[in-house]
């Protein structure tokens, strides 16, 4: 009886973490597959997804050898950069309004921000295309930019907003007490403390834009972004370089996130230190040196 209950007890204690390990591994499988196959040697320079020919660095060395792929990636980067800047500015202002102010249109504003996030991409793409058709607008970079800014805004609002909610306003009040104008207080106190949240939101907007296929497919015209290029060649055979660039993009994004996280932690520590009451209230002689 005891012999049987022991493994059971062990499983009860450790089952959940073990399961979590498996589930996380499952989440990461395709990423590993993409990275591994970027090193796979293949006879026709197209992804065959067999590793019989062993590994090679060839495709990493010739990562930028395919012109159309480079052009598509460059278009995607330019598009993502522009849409990130615009959507981050617009979204941050909206988040400030929603957290800092009480006003009548608040409910409607919340609704207008939430609903695009809950709308299937195919509907967003189709609706925008319907409007562009009506005005016989030429599809291309501009229509892509309009669409990307639109679907990024809501996510920026959500991220910045969650950071603003935990914000210690006494720091701003202190700045005001010390004679700072509202604008100076915003620039020198609010913005630096908010920066990690804004960075995180910008990163998300960037990732959303680089990643988007469905909405772009509806509104791109002849413009080709990175995902659209991959879609186009997926029927004929995908060059291995696609996996190389995808792996690079992933690595760069992960690094950027790590940096933001480190910064966020530092800002939190800083804020915690500033708002901590001085202990003891009247410093004993020599205490300042030890702190």
């Amino acid at each position: 009886m005891a012999a049987l209950s022991r493994p059971w007890a062990w499983l009860r204690r450790n089952g959940l973490p073990i399961y979590a390990g498996f589930a996380v591994a499952y989440m990461l499988i395709p990423i590993v597959v993409i990275a591994v196959f970027s090193f796979g040697d293949t006879p026709r320079d197209r992804l065959t997804f067999g590793l019989d020919d062993g590994f090679t660095l060839e495709y990493w060395e010739s990562a930028f050898a395919i012109r159309e792929l480079n052009d598509a990636l460059f278009t995607s980067l330019r598009l993502a950069a522009l849409s990130t800047v615009v959507s981050t500015v617009l979204g941050t202002l909206m988040a400030l309004a929603l957290v800092r102010h009480r006003f009548r249109a608040r409910r409607a504003a919340n609704l207008l921000i939430v609903i695009p996030m809950a709308t299937p991409e195919v509907v967003i793409g189709a609706a925008l295309l319907s409007m562009f058709i009506y005005y016989t607008l030429a599809l291309g970079f501009t229509t892509l930019l309009i669409a990307h800014i639109m679907f990024s805004i809501s996510f920026v609002v959500v991220v910045v907003r969650s950071r603003l909610i935990g914000f210690d306003r006494s720091l701003e009040e202190a700045a005001a007490d010390l004679g700072a104008t509202p604008f100076t207080a915003f620039r020198t106190v609010t913005l630096p403390l908010l920066a990690p949240g804004i960075m995180a939101a910008a990163l998300l907007a960037f990732a959303l834009s680089i990643d988007d296929f469905v909405i772009s497919n509806f509104n791109s015209g002849i413009e080709v972004t990175f995902p659209l290029y991959v879609y186009g060649v997926s029927l004929r055979g995908i060059p291995v370089q696609v996996n190389v660039l995808a792996t690079m993009l992933f690595a760069v994004t992960v690094l950027a996130i790590a940096l933001v996280l480190v910064q966020q932690r530092r800002a939190e520590r800083l804020a915690a230190r500033v708002s901590e009451p001085q202990q003891p209230p009247i410093p004993a002689p020599g205490a300042a040196a030890t702190s």
């Binding site: 959940l16 979590a20 589930a23 996380v24 499952y26 989440m27 990461l28 395709p30 990423i31 597959v33 997804f49 617009l90 979204g91 202002l93 909206m94 309004a97 102010h101 006003f103 249109a105 608040r106 504003a109 919340n110 609704l111 207008l112 921000i113 939430v114 609903i115 695009p116 809950a118 709308t119 299937p120 991409e121 195919v122 509907v123 967003i124 189709a126 609706a127 058709i133 669409a147 639109m150 805004i153 809501s154 907003r161 909610i165 990732a207 990643d211 296929f213 497919n217 990175f226 995902p227 991959v230 879609y231 997926s234 996996n243 995808a246 993009l249 992933f250 992960v254 996130i257 996280l261």
Partner: protein, 287 residues
């Protein structure tokens, strides 16, 4: 007086953008849905209400299939995500941040490339399919790719983070003292879970279900890459009507109906639960 205008100045530009490029396009999609004609003769506006019932009756099969695929994928995602979110919230210790990161890591590789990777993993020559065949889970001459199972697996995988994150956010805020209280009052751990933990995490479950089901219902990449001709979903129909066949009115009618349905579900949900679950916090209540 000036102070009161500040929020409107802050909100104005962003809301205007959302209005012009989200709300207004919906109007034009509705307008397009009421036109009739063909690509060669042009589409004229003539209150062609019949486009709406026609778009439904012509695509019943794909609509029902989308409900079925998205439904199964959502249930699977919930079953996979709940224990994972629970483990991350309560058992991860100092690995919490790392695990959360792993959960959203798929977002940082292109959706399309990720799905193509699954296509490889499930392809006929892959070792995983061999294993499934050996275990007789898949017939010896059967395949995984181009089946309903492959599409559902793809949908489950791709939208799993949308299930995990709201569940995690909800569990994280759970007051553990309530579970202790239940245990002190002699409930078994199963009773404590069913009568305390589960009801308290219901908002997270509902938010996760909506955030998974809605995009899965509208998706067409998984059906296109992992399915065959027999696995087409509504998204595939809308995509092909708009971009290949260019039968705009029928396409617009179909996606307008989809939008109306989702809008109804979401507003109903927000009425009861507020926008908080979508915004990632609780304080934005039923205001």
């Amino acid at each position: 007086m000036r102070q009161r205008r500040v929020p409107y100045w802050l909100l104005g530009p962003g809301l205007l953008w959302l209005f012009i490029f989200f709300v207004v396009p919906m109007y034009f999609m509705g307008e397009l849905a009421l036109r009739s004609g063909s690509l060669t003769t042009g589409f004229a506006f003539d209150w062609a209400w019949s486009n709406f019932p026609d778009s439904l009756s012509g695509n019943t099969e794909q609509i029902l299939r989308s409900v079925y695929y998205a439904g199964v994928a959502t249930i699977l995602a919930l079953l996979i995500a709940y224990p994972l979110a629970y483990a991350i919230a309560f058992r991860a210790g100092r690995f919490k941040l790392l695990l959360l990161f792993a959960v959203i890591a798929p977002f940082f590789t292109t959706y399309l490339i990720r799905t193509i990777a699954w296509k490889t993993i499930l392809s006929d020559s892959s070792p995983i399919v061999d294993v499934l065949q050996t275990l007789a889970l898949v017939p010896e001459d059967g395949r995984v790719l181009a089946t309903s199972g492959a599409v559902i697996a793809g949908l489950t995988y791709n939208f799993l983070p949308f299930m995990i994150l709201p569940l995690y956010a909800n569990l994280e805020r759970l007051d553990l003292r309530l579970i202790e209280a239940a245990r002190d009052l002699y409930s078994s751990s199963r009773q404590a879970f069913l009568r305390v933990t589960l009801p308290l995490t219901m908002p997270g479950i509902v938010a996760g279900v909506l955030l998974t089901f809605i995009p899965a219902f509208g998706d067409y990449i998984n059906a296109q890459l992992l399915g065959g001709t027999q696995q087409a979903m509504v998204g595939n129909v809308i995509q092909s009507l708009y971009l290949t066949q260019r039968d705009y009115p029928e396409a617009a009618a179909l996606s307008f109906l989809m939008m109306a349905l989702i809008l109804a579900v979401v507003t109903l949900y927000i009425r009861f639960a507020g926008t908080g679950a979508f915004m990632g916090d609780a304080d934005e209540g039923k205001a």
